[in-house]
Homo-oligomer: 361 residues x 2
């Protein structure tokens, strides 16, 4: 058996893959959904509560943490796991997506990106090397490369330049990670396939990235306003070019419908703020669609959100209580609804994994 | 053994009393601190988390709940315990204090009080009978009478009229509670001693209230801006007139210093929003004073808030992390600091109880 970090492909059922990713902080089963704690906290939920939702992997944002409180500070405090009180696997995003979504306020060149801090407006310079250095200090189990993610409506030459820059940066970061002995120290590094919606660029990006031999591959630049059909096309193009034995991660996606579609294309990992953001806006996911918890119809509804759900919220509270909390603007509403939503997403992943196992028997 | 609700005085050490109050939802040890969940939720904390702080009794506000979502609605949903997912003892305040603090916007007469709703400005009428009816529907283990609590700087004749009205209302509510068989149904009802800072009125109020034979006695109208010395004087006057065998409750108090003072005057029960309110404003209580968690000095402080504390927050998170959450305005800061503060208050109560037991050996 290979030492962590490494991906173990357990079975495939048509397109749906069943796997397990091993890290020094334990393994996570795939297909996997990772809730997002941008600043090192899933909003309103303690690690103990996250654990109870069935979550195995969580995501944090290296760029945001490097701004506040600083990657060096977290490093001196013993690393991100200790800092945020989560002893399971952690993946950090490099923050490229967030930076490039600043749009007018950022300037990119061959050696990195210059932009204004969202915290204090200071001018910040982030290079691919610096992005990896931040993640070395934070110490997540999986680090993501810094890539150049152009806007969804960018001109062809912009998309092409971003594609080439992304590959150049990927090479430099792969080399740097190796020079540090990243894998030997237990940290995986994932490359990111870019190329927008152009099939040729997507395919080029995938092929060249695979040649660099990353520990896993993300599909970036999707879920940025393109149609579902375009997302499907990009997956159709890129995923078959990725090696069977490495994890495939669809970044920033998404909804239960997206998961069901994407696992059929061979995706193993997802992350999204959906369950917590919707939770804070008083919306609950159920097998029968979304529920707007503030609706009057729930005023005296003594049933749980979903009577099949085993989450803490559904086991203890009625829709009437949750509506009351939402209407009264009690912060507990966001906490309880986020717990339910994450649990619901994890249940869905467990069902997908089980379905895949049953399909291959 | 008497069936609940009833108070059991276990021992006395000088003035400090050690007791136990029995309810149909279990007992709570005294001296006791009850955190406040005005709208049926301790802000940002689940019942499971509250339980872990060592909390045995919680307080909710009958008036606020009668406004939203309605006492009848909660009654139809199975009562307050089921509604808020707390199976331990609950005390509800009638809301008199909150109503009278509206000041200019309320008019009181011999049959009740008329005021504007804080929710929608509607004109609301609350009589002593209605206040008790609300608490019958909610079903807390301990109901509080509606009293007339005048402003701290009210003229003597206003204080005297409020005192007489409070006694008249107390009698009517005592009779009504008996006519419903309140005690047989497991609900205790507590009277409230008023009289402001006038020793004669305080004494009169206590004596006449005791003659009505309530299940417990609250000292009201304190912690409204008077000096600590005045609070002490009011306790000196009122408490010796209360029966030994009944619980004494100092409403809306307060801080660790207040508790230490008041238990020496024979107080058994406290409630206050202090730990949660300070928690949400990023302030932590410790054995060495309060900590303002946003202060720069904690940026890389890897120690817990209090290294002797066994709360979830201190067992899992550093001051540096809590500062980071506070600075990043993450809602988890309020949750984790509130958990610590409530736990700290409960630890303090446990120490007071233990000290009392050791003192009488």
């Amino acid at each position: 058996m290979t030492s962590p970090p490494h991906f173990e492909l357990l079975s495939t059922d048509g397109g749906i893959r069943r796997g397990r990713f091993h890290t020094p902080h334990g393994s996570f089963e795939t297909p996997c959904f990772a809730p997002v704690g941008t600043y090192g906290a899933i909003k309103g939920i303690t690690p103990a509560q996250i654990r109870e939702t069935g979550t195995e992997l969580i995501l944090a944002n290296a760029y945001h943490l490097s701004q506040r409180p600083g990657a060096d500070a977290i490093g001196r405090l013993g690393g991100l796991h200790k800092f945020m009180g989560w002893d399971g696997p952690i993946l950090t995003d490099s923050g490229g997506y967030q930076i490039f979504s600043l749009d007018d306020h950022c300037h990119v060149d061959s050696d990195g990106v210059t932009f204004q801090s969202v915290i204090d407006g200071a001018t910040i310079r982030l290079s691919p090397e610096r992005a990896l250095e931040i993640q070395r200090d934070l110490g997540p189990d999986i680090a993501m490369v810094l890539d150049h993610c152009p806007a969804g409506d960018a001109a062809e030459e912009v998309v092409r330049a971003a594609h080439e820059r992304t590959l150049d940066w990927a090479r430099r970061q792969r080399d740097l990670h190796e020079s540090w002995g990243g894998a030997a120290r237990g940290q995986a590094v994932f490359g990111i396939v870019q190329g927008g919606i152009d099939p040729q660029l997507r395919a080029d990006s995938a092929r060249q990235l695979v040649a660099l031999d990353f520990d896993g591959y993300a599909i970036g630049g999707l879920s940025v306003g393109e149609t579902k059909e375009r997302m499907r096309q990009a997956l159709d193009t890129a995923v078959p070019l990725l090696p069977e034995g490495k994890l495939r991660y669809l970044m920033g996606v998404g909804t239960p419908e997206d998961f069901k579609m994407a696992v059929k294309h061979g995706i193993d990992l997802f992350d999204c703020v959906t369950p917590t953001r919707h939770g804070r806006f008083n919306e609950a996911f159920t097998r029968h669609g979304r529920i707007k918890m503030r609706n009057q119809q729930y005023t005296e509804d003594g049933r749980p959100i979903d009577d099949e759900c085993r989450c803490y919220t559904c086991q203890n509270f009625s829709r009437a209580y949750l509506r009351h909390l939402a209407i009264s603007r009690e912060m507990l509403a966001g906490t309880l609804l986020s717990i339910h939503n994450i649990h619901y997403f994890q249940d869905l992943m467990a069902e997908i994994r089980q379905g895949s196992e049953e399909g291959t028997r």
